[in-house]
Symmetry: C2
Subunit: 248 residues, 2 copies
Amino acid sequence: MKILNKEDYIEQVSIDCVIFGFHDRQLRVLLPKIRVLKDIWTLPGGFILQQESLDEAALRILAERTGIRDIYLEQFKVFGSLERSSPGLMGEVLETHKDTFAELGMVADDVKWLQRRFISIGYYALVDIHQVVPEISELDESCEWYDVKELPMLAFDHADIITKALESLRLMLNHKLIGFNLLPETFTMKEVQDLYETILDKPFRRNNFQKMILDLDILERLEKKFTGAANKAPYLYRFKQKGGEGES
Amino acid sequence: MKILNKEDYIEQVSIDCVIFGFHDRQLRVLLPKIRVLKDIWTLPGGFILQQESLDEAALRILAERTGIRDIYLEQFKVFGSLERSSPGLMGEVLETHKDTFAELGMVADDVKWLQRRFISIGYYALVDIHQVVPEISELDESCEWYDVKELPMLAFDHADIITKALESLRLMLNHKLIGFNLLPETFTMKEVQDLYETILDKPFRRNNFQKMILDLDILERLEKKFTGAANKAPYLYRFKQKGGEGES
DNA sequence: CATTATTGTCTAAAAAAAAGACAATAAATC
DNA sequence: GATTTATTGTCTTTTTTTTAGACAATAATG
């Protein structure tokens, strides 16, 4: 009963996921930490089954490694330089896990393929950080959110993958309305502005930002939100469901 | 002496290239036609050697299939649905080429891997259609330019790949200055406008378009071009080389 | 040398973006 | 309960950008 059966997967191809969340004016990335790699983190990744599409594989990998389901996913780039693979580091991982593999009835040859060159398809996911409760998989010793500006040491070319994911996210933020995937179901205009300012790393004027967003005609205004703060309560908004009630 | 030695390549991964050219207010795609596939065209594609990066592989494939070298290339998407592979069609190709393979000392098992599921990395290339003289490779019976609006019957999901390449090109045209890769070294402003109008499929005002492009500060004006037409001769322009003479 | 078909460039109008201003209001303070 | 404080909601003004209009310049034609 092997976990990883070489025959079940497409060889030399992996998927790596950059999971973005937003909280407290910080754009964060969810990083599970593999038990073996002391003080080195990796992006949640995995392999593609022969009988699943790339998108399906990415969703499955996310669920397996973090417990996250039903989220926004975007394929953004393939990484395939020769230098990106690191047989030495991977060899270390395999060596440390030797006993585990042995228990599963796997011999050295069954995992040797992991040391080959790999091409990796990069996906990024956008999630509501508050709704997500990361599950720590058996492989990992932790699974936590890190500010993109203060990332820990990452293995292979994973730091580069995150950088590219962020570039892609920034570019897309102006084209598609993907930003709202990072917010809870209801939110204030200030929260939207904080999100945009954090991702694009530039300030907006409150009055003009509100006009810009509302002119998109994608939000519906709900009741006010009483925060307990000593000031006027802001309205809550919700992303409009297409085909909803609509105006008469 | 086998042409395709399974061991030399990454399995189940291919690269497909959409080569764009521009002429006569038409955006065109260069399509080699494989000898076997009667009345069905395919994108120039190939496989990735174990010892080359993805970009290197794409450049090599382009050179092998079309003779084109030193051009602008952009990776735009990976295609990996289960339906995209078509063992039947590929089987037909292999069956027809059976004798050729036999001559090369290859037995059925040596090409069987081509019938497996493939993931394909999409690249698009931008070339000056006038500078390029397509070479017809041994595999192909023709290699010609087709208007993207009047494409012939394409195998597998190649029509879809071209559509996605075009979408990506349109999106990037506003961000990067990639459009000029489709023009000759010197060109008139009208040619630039024709290019933009064709790709984006929308008209521009002559006066405003000129201002928009010149304000980018990327073109240098050369001498006038005397076309022989009964009107004012337009200026020629050239894409500024960075680190050139510059203004004092 | 007037005619024709474009090109180069200027100015005016319209639209959009940015900046400024101020009343409204929910809680805290006195 | 009046006053203060920190924001929010929204309106107006200013500035910038985009779009539209206008016309002289010019290379070949007849």
